[in-house]
């Protein structure tokens, strides 16, 4: 990124734009890793989750929090103050779900899948991971990928590939997944086909 751009990123308008482009690139080119512009002093919440929340979430989007986030009143306060998003207890009603690194990725079926008429009315899950490059290797294909891409996010759980196949089969319904770690982000849109690679 150029020095010119970096100096503007202190400004929330340009930071949101840069992070949105990272998310858009991540979801339109699955398998690639995009850089986020994070604020190390964001508060009492994971800086990657904070950056994504500030980019996409506001008072018009219902938000579900994974247990360790929901139990932390500082996190709740920060989100309420920074985004104004109404929190929901029922994951299927959430436009966005934030999942802490400490919490497992919940079953996709618990979230909003959209309807056949309105498949866009589904939950986008944002999961903080231990890392994006040293987990089990997965082969991805689908729109946005020329032939095939290999990714290796950590901490998605042992049955992730099987569960994702179920989600894929629901298309056009289904959830979309955004993974983040260490100031970087990776997208898994519902169109993605994922296979486990033998080690």
């Amino acid at each position: 990124m150029t020095a010119f751009a970096t100096q503007h990123l202190a400004d929330p308008v340009f930071r949101a734009q840069a992070n949105f482009r990272a998310l858009m690139d991540a979801l339109s080119r699955p398998g690639t890793i995009q850089r986020l512009v994070v604020d190390e002093d964001a508060g009492d919440i994971d800086v990657d989750l904070a950056a994504i929340a500030l980019t996409l979430i506001d008072h018009e989007t219902s938000l579900w929090l994974s247990p360790s986030l929901a139990d932390d009143h500082k996190v709740r306060e920060w989100l309420a103050f920074a985004t104004g998003a109404p929190l929901v207890d029922a994951p299927e009603r959430a436009a966005f779900a934030l999942v802490a690194e400490a919490d497992p990725l919940p079953d996709h079926r618990a979230f909003g899948q959209g309807t056949q008429e309105y498949p866009d009315r589904s939950t986008t899950i944002v999961k903080a991971c231990g890392g994006l490059t040293h987990g089990p290797r997965l082969a991805c294909s689908g729109p946005g990928i020329k032939a095939s891409a290999t990714v290796a996010p950590a901490g998605l759980g042992p049955n992730f590939v099987e569960r994702w196949a179920e989600n894929r089969a629901l298309f056009p319904r289904g959830v979309d997944l955004i993974l983040c770690a260490g100031g970087a982000v990776m997208g898994m849109p519902r169109t993605l086909t994922i296979k486990r690679l033998e080690v």
């Binding site: 990124m1 150029t2 010119f4 751009a5 503007h8 929330p12 308008v13 340009f14 949101a16 734009q17 840069a18 949105f20 482009r21 998310l23 858009m24 979801l27 339109s28 080119r29 980019t55 996409l56 979430i57 506001d58 018009e60 989007t61 436009a95 309807t115 056949q116 008429e117 309105y118 498949p119 866009d120 589904s122 986008t124 729109p143 946005g144 990928i145 020329k146 298309f171 056009p172 979309d176 849109p189 519902r190 169109t191």
Partner: protein, 292 residues
């Protein structure tokens, strides 16, 4: 000229940008599906590119290089007007060079120069619903998409063949995206349809008045609807561009005088200029040269 302090960067307020950005991400995740969004009034009229302008305003950053075309040309009045708008509200760099642009906003054409990885093309869309002229009701067409019930479209195309011997749709020719959604490519000539298939660029579509955003991610399957016995074909011109001599490009017909003399020239003006500066000379340009 700098952005006016009265308005936010790229004109839209941040809340509106977030709303549009969320719609764009859904559109990318469901290729070809029309995502409803709460389109805003823009300072240009509905039908003049408000959807494309809102999409561009939601994605554009200070480092972007913007190209705006209408009918393939950078210097048509509406392209000039939209480009001037973005210069005023973002102060970004603008270009006519397709290869140099990071964002290309277009009405009715896809540039001749192949798009590359990392580029974004934003289409202005008047009527996003490909089934609209067969079924005017939104409630009905929504169900047809939900059930993947596209028989009506095939019937219409087949009736064309029965009546005219060929499919009589020459622009806004429907495509199927990733084997699921039938999508309107915007009123581009069907000549441009093959460029959408497996394009390395991200393709975003904005319909402001109709409040819909849709997308084709890079490297996606985009198939023009057709029949085994009547495969999809594009218009071929029997002569090259009169100015640059280019073949396999879309040509505009220009009437030269009141005796019906006609000349065919590239619709993509930047492409034509580029070829001419590389020394390519078409028939008419050669005549002009000799006369000088």
């Amino acid at each position: 000229m700098t952005g006016e302090p009265f308005y936010n960067f790229a004109y839209l307020d941040e809340q509106t940008k977030r709303m549009i950005r969320r719609a764009i991400l859904k559109a990318i995740a469901i290729p070809g599906y029309q995502v409803p969004f709460a389109s805003r009034e823009m300072p240009m009229p509905y039908g003049w590119g408000t959807g494309g302008v809102q999409v561009t305003a939601a994605i554009i950053g200070r480092d972007d290089v913007l190209k705006v075309i209408d009918q393939g040309a950078d210097d048509t009045t509406n392209a000039v007007s939209i480009r001037a708008f973005f210069q005023k509200v973002t102060n970004v760099a603008v270009t006519t060079d397709t290869g140099a642009a990071t964002i290309i906003q277009t009405r009715h054409r896809i540039p001749e120069h192949p798009l590359i990885d990392g580029q974004i093309i934003v289409y202005q869309v008047p009527i996003p619903e490909p089934l609209r002229f067969l079924e005017p009701r939104e409630t009905e067409t929504r169900t047809m998409h939900a059930l993947e019930e596209y028989g009506l479209m095939h019937v219409k195309l087949y009736e064309d063949i029965a009546r005219h011997g060929e499919i009589a749709t020459t622009y806004a020719y429907p495509v199927k995206v990733e084997g699921r959604y039938v999508m309107d490519p915007s009123p581009t000539p069907k000549f441009d349809n093959p460029k959408m298939h497996m394009s390395p660029a991200l393709q975003l579509f904005g319909a402001g008045r109709e409040r819909r955003i849709y997308a084709i991610p890079p490297y996606s399957d985009v198939v023009s609807l057709d029949f085994d016995d009547h495969p999809f074909t594009v218009q071929r011109f029997d002569k090259p561009c009169a100015l640059c001599g280019g073949d396999d490009v879309y040509l505009d017909e220009v009437i030269m005088d009141d005796r019906g003399t006609r000349m065919f020239v590239c619709s993509d003006t930047a492409h034509c200029d580029g070829r001419r500066s590389e020394g390519h000379v078409g028939k008419q340009a050669a005549v002009e040269e000799a006369r000088r």
